[in-house]
């Protein structure tokens, strides 16, 4: 009951946010908030395979990146309709995940990490080689995708669209996690051998999970391309996968809102460090704000060593998984 009330309050706050920002003449934060929500979506999709499925994939950025390029290319080629472009940005990365997963999921442990990494790098180099779409420099988009009745060029409109999609995604993935499928995925993470031994074709389920995660990652990518009106190979680099992983573990691996909390915390932290000078630190070292990654690294290390369940884990004692009965 408490959780219900908190969720509704949060939703109302999110809806009121742009209005408040406009009133305070801080319109920049509307765009910033959109960015947080987009990364929350991406991190949530990664949490599905990483947190619930236990699959350490260093290739997730490839699916997000693929989504950015699908959306971006559609806009550049004169087909900016989001109603076609965005589902396509889910479908194609989903198919990509199907192909990559079918090969990678035969392996486990470090081999799986390396294979997913290898595939991600392949796609990265592929985008770099696409001279027609900017190659290494990337491509500035002439505008955003278009929706009927809604002008996405307006930052507030874009914010509400992203909010709606994030809420929808969270609802869908929450249902997923509580379903039979979700239980199977968690159990596979717990003991894959025994799952096979009680009659589950574990490969199929892992692959399905991988594809679903890839598709939602693609959606995040499409929104990301729209946010900055810019597509660039760097979003596909393996260090970006690392970035998403940081968000997931910061928020709480395997917790429903881990991706959201993680994106909020990480991006909020970076924004704070970059734009708000703290007097006493600046006295010690004037350029400290350029080294925000140092702070991120330290926070990440501390979390892994001392609070591996992330922020959500600090507040919620029971994890999802085997919580019934």
């Amino acid at each position: 009951m408490m959780q219900r009330a908190a969720t509704i309050a949060l939703l109302l706050a999110a809806i009121a946010f742009p209005l408040a920002m406009q009133a305070l003449d801080q319109a920049y934060y509307i765009s910033f908030a959109s960015r947080i929500m987009i990364y929350a979506l991406a991190a949530t999709s990664l949490n599905l395979i990483l947190g619930y499925g236990g699959m350490i994939s260093f290739g997730h950025a490839a699916f997000v990146g693929a989504g950015t390029y699908v959306a971006g290319i559609m806009i550049v080629e004169g087909m900016p309709g989001a109603l076609i472009g965005w589902p396509l940005a889910m479908l194609l990365p989903g198919l990509l995940a199907l192909a990559i997963g079918a090969v990678s999921l035969r392996t486990r442990g470090v081999y799986f990490i390396m294979i997913t990494l290898a595939f991600a790098q392949m796609i990265y180099y592929l985008t770099v080689s696409m001279k027609a779409y900017g190659g290494e420099e990337g491509l500035t988009l002439p505008g955003r995708s278009t929706l009927p009745f809604v002008d996405l060029a307006n930052d507030s409109n874009f914010y509400y669209t992203v909010l709606a999609l994030l809420v929808l995604t969270l609802l869908l993935l929450n249902r997923l996690v509580s379903s039979r499928f979700g239980r199977v995925i968690e159990a596979i993470r717990e003991n894959e051998t025994r799952m096979e031994a009680i009659g589950f074709p574990t490969q199929r389920y892992k692959l399905a999970c991988f594809v679903i995660a890839g598709a939602f990652g693609g959606l995040a990518g499409a929104l990301l391309a729209n946010h900055g009106s810019y597509v660039n190979p760097s979003i596909l680099h393996w260090t970006q996968s690392g970035n998403l992983m940081i968000m997931v573990i910061l928020g709480g691996v395997g917790f429903r809102y881990g991706g959201l909390i993680g994106a909020l915390t990480l991006l909020g932290l970076e924004e704070f460090i970059a734009n708000h000078k703290i007097g006493w630190i600046a006295d010690l070292y004037p350029n400290y704000q350029q080294h925000s990654l140092l702070g991120v690294g330290i926070v990440l290390l501390v979390i892994v060593l001392y609070a591996p369940q992330g922020i959500a884990g600090l507040f919620l004692r029971n994890k999802q998984g085997g919580g019934h009965g």
């Binding site: 379903s179 031994a197 009680i198 574990t202 019934h324 009965g325």
Partner: protein, 255 residues
């Protein structure tokens, strides 16, 4: 029924130069409790792994319930009614006892490519699981986390998971491993209780249990099956005695 439930023909498994399974042929009859004994390192677990499908054989055929299952993957064999339990406990430690068993029930009742309907709403599934938990002797422990159970209780769950798949044949790999006499009795009683519905292939070192339960016994030494027969015949078999020299059979076999 003349046709055996499980027909093993000429199974071979090599690991480099070592022959772990040496042309093993064996019949398991419907409704029997068939024990598989042998000294340590004889290859019993390797054989079980090949029968259950988690380890591929190098040669030989496997027939189950009238069909050839030699190339079927493990999960497919389970679907057809061939389940196993593990010598080293392999349960879902972070799940409750009920949820452990519910997984096995879930595996055989409809598809799990179901993404929308909440699992918690499936009362029938959980009722069935609760019933199985009671049958296995863990009634009252439904909500305990499997990792917190005592060793003996974990072994009960270990067997319970395999039983929950409603198999026709269950391969029990040393179900009483690491148990004292009191705990072992519970497992023995469980096996006696379920033998009405399930054919059992039992791998065990505990000779008391073996001679009490088994209808027939097969003896595996160095990957080869050296004898199969009724308990009395096995007890006096000179080859078996030789293989077990200084081991359980000669010393502890009930007179």
């Amino acid at each position: 029924m003349a046709e055996p439930l499980l027909k093993v023909q000429g199974l071979v498994k090599r690991f480099g130069g070592l022959v772990a399974t040496d042309k093993v042929s064996l019949d398991i009859r419907h409704g029997e409790i068939h024990a598989l004994i042998g000294p340590n390192g004889a290859g019993k677990t390797t054989l079980i792994a090949q029968l259950s499908g988690s380890l591929a054989s190098d040669a030989g055929r496997l027939g189950f319930d009238g069909s050839d299952i030699s190339t079927l993957p493990q999960h497919e064999r389970v679907r057809r009614g061939l389940a196993r339990s593990y010598q080293i406990t392999s349960i879902f430690k972070k799940f409750s006892v009920l949820d452990n068993v519910a997984l096995a029930v879930q595996a055989r009742s409809g598809t799990s490519m179901s993404f929308w309907r909440p699992l918690a709403a499936e009362t029938v599934l959980f009722e069935e699981a609760a019933e199985l938990v009671r049958r296995v002797g863990l009634g009252g422990r439904e909500h305990a986390m499997a990792g917190n159970l005592a060793h003996g209780e974990q072994r009960q769950l270990e067997v319970g998971l395999a039983l929950a798949t409603q198999p026709k044949l269950i391969l029990l790999d040393e179900p009483m491993a690491g148990m004292g006499p009191e705990e072992s009795v519970r497992i023995i009683e469980l096996i006696e209780k379920v033998r009405e519905e399930v054919t059992v292939l039992l791998v065990e070192h505990d000779m008391d249990a073996v001679f009490r339960l088994a209808d027939r016994i097969s003896v595996l030494v160095n990957g080869r099956l050296i004898a199969t027969g009724e308990p009395e015949a096995i007890r006096v078999n000179p080859e078996v005695k030789k293989a077990y020299l200084g081991d359980d059979v000669s010393e502890d076999a009930p007179a």
